[in-house]
C-alpha cells in the first residue's frame, strides 16, 4: 500500500485527529501527527491487520532550530521557543510497505509517550533521542543517557545551540 492509501485509511479511521501529509521538493513524504495523538496512531498502524507495521526501523530526533535566536550572558547564541521533531520510520515484514511519521514537540519541555510497549526496539532509540536531544519519553522504564557519560550535565549535545563545555572532570575538551 502506498503512503496515500495508508493516509486515507488513517484519515477516515480517526476523524477528530488533525493529520496531514507533508512533502518537500525532494525526497519522501511523511505523515505529520500532533504529539498527543501519536500513541493512538502508532497503536493503530501496529495492530490494524491491513497495515501491520511490526518492524520499527528507526526513531530520529531533529532540532528544527526554528525558534528566535537570542544571546545569553557570555555572548553565545541560544534558541528560544521553536520545536524538536521526531521521525518514526516503520516497515511491515508481511505487507512489505514502509511509512514515516513525524511529530514535533515544543523545545522547552519536550515530552512524548513512549513506544516501548509496541516495539521493543524503541527502547535504545528513545534513550538515544533523550541523550542527544533531551526529549523525554513518558513511560520509558529506564530513561538514562546511553552514549554520553552518566554524569554529563552540560546539556544535550545535538541541539543546534549546544556549547562544548570547557572541562569535564578536569579533562580539557577543546583542542
Amino acid at each position: 500500500m502506498t503512503i496515500k492509501e495508508i493516509f486515507d485509511l488513517l484519515k477516515n479511521r480517526f476523524e477528530n485527529i488533525k493529520i496531514y501529509i507533508e512533502k518537500f521538493e525532494v525526497g519522501e513524504e511523511y505523515i505529520v501527527v500532533s504529539p498527543d495523538a501519536l500513541k493512538q496512531i502508532l497503536q493503530e498502524i501496529r495492530n490494524n491487520p491491513r497495515l501491520h507495521f511490526d518492524y520499527l526501523m528507526c526513531i530520529s530526533s531533529v532540532d528544527d532550530a526554528n525558534g528566535e535566536i537570542k544571546k545569553d550572558e557570555n555572548g553565545n547564541k541560544i534558541i528560544k521557543g521553536g520545536t524538536l521533531s521526531l521521525y518514526y520510520h516503520l516497515y511491515s515484514t508481511t505487507r512489505n510497505h514502509k511509512i514515516a511519521i513525524k511529530t514535533s514537540v515544543d523545545r522547552e519541555n519536550p515530552a512524548v509517550p513512549t513506544a516501548i510497549d509496541l516495539w521493543k526496539s524503541a527502547d535504545w532509540h528513545e534513550r538515544e533521542a533523550f541523550d542527544m536531544m533531551g526529549i523525554k519519553f513518558e513511560g520509558h522504564p529506564n530513561l538514562k543517557r546511553i552514549l554520553m557519560p552518566y554524569d554529563w550535565n552540560a546539556g544535550f549535545p545535538l541541539r543546534k545551540d549546544f556549547i562544548t563545555p570547557e572541562y569535564y572532570n578536569d579533562l580539557k575538551i577543546p583542542y
Binding site: 511523511y30 531533529v62 572532570n169
Partner: protein, 385 residues
Amino acid sequence: MMNEAYNLEYKSLKKEGDSEIMILNMGPQHPSTHGVLRLELKVNGEIIEEVIPHIGYLHRCFEKHAEACNYQQVIPYVDRMDYLSSMYNDFGYAIAVEKLLGIEIPERVEYIRIIMGEFQRIASHLVAIGTFGLDVGSFTPFLYCFRDREKILTLFEKTCGARLLYNYIWPGGVSHDLYPEFKNDALNFLKEFKRNLKDLEILLVENKIFIERTAGIGVLPENIAINYAASGPMIRGSGIPYDIRKIEPYGIYDRFEFNIPVGEGMMGKKGDCWDRFYVRYLEILESIKIIEQALDSLPDGNVFEKLPKKIKPKKGIVYSRVESPRGELGFFIISDGSDKPFRIKVRAPSFVNLSILPEIAKGCFIADLVAILGSIDIVLGEVDR
C-alpha cells in the same frame, strides 16, 4: 574529580547485598568484547541472571561532525563508523545523497560499487568468523581468515590507496577507476579463496567441540527478532529471509541472481549461534557468486562524468537503507538547501542487534555469553557512532 564518574558508574556494583548474586563486570577492556563495550553481569555461580550492556565508550560525535561539514567532507566520518565494512558505509551514504540529488549513475560505476561492496562483505564476514572462533577458543581459524582478508585489502589498496578506510565511493561516482589488471587479480583471488575456504570448513564448521559450544545457545525466536528489529545475519539466522538486497533492491542488485541463506537449525535449535555463524559462512559463498557475475559483465566507460563538483541538494528529507554486512544500515538525511546537511541520523545495525543481547543471554553460562556476543558480531564504532 575523575573518579566521581567512575563511582557513579559503579554505584550499582557497590550494593552487592544479595549474597547469592555476584555482580561481575566484563569491563571496557576485555579480550572478547570486540572493542570497548562494558557488560554488567548479575551472575549466580556460573549462570547469568541478567546482562546490562553499557555503551558509549567510543561515541565520537559523528552526527555533530556531519552537521559541520559539507556533503563530500562527511564521507571520511562515514567510513570511520563501521570500520570493518567502511566501503559499504560509503555505498549507503552515496545512495542516500543521490536520492536527494536525483542524478543518474553511469553503468560502470554501478558495477564497480557492487563488486567493491561484495568484496567488503567477504572481508567483514571473515573477521566476524575469525573473532567468533577466537571467542570460542580456537586461535588458528582467526589467522587463516586474516590471511585471506589481507588479499582483499591489497585489491582495495591498489584501487583506492587505503587498507581499511577508503573514502572511495562518492555521491555520483567513484574516486578512482579500477586499475587495468583488477579483473584477473580478483578472479585469481576468488579461485584460490574457494580452496582456502575448505580448510576453514574443516577447522570450524565441522568441528565437534565448536558445534557443541555454539549449537542451541543464544536462540533468537522469530517474533522477538522482529519485535527488536534485528537485521542482517541476526534475523536471517532465525529463519526470516529479510535481506534488503532482495526486498528493496538498490543499485543494480536485481540483475544478479543469488539466494539468501537462512538458518534452519541444522545443528541445534533454529536461530542459535551456530546458525548465525553458518549464515555468514554461506553469505560469503553467495558474495563470490555475485562478484563473478558482476566481473564478467563489467562494462567500460568514464567513471567521472556524473561526479558533481559541488553538492547543493534542494530542501528535502530522505531515508535510504542498504544491506551492510552487519544488517540494515539506514541513512536519514535532512537537507536545507545549503551545501551542509542539516541533520544526518544513521540507523546502525550493530546498535539495534546489541539491544537484543540482554534478551537472549538470560540464563546461559559466562562462556556462552562470550559465544553469543561473538555471534551477534558488533562493531563499537557503529554502535556508539
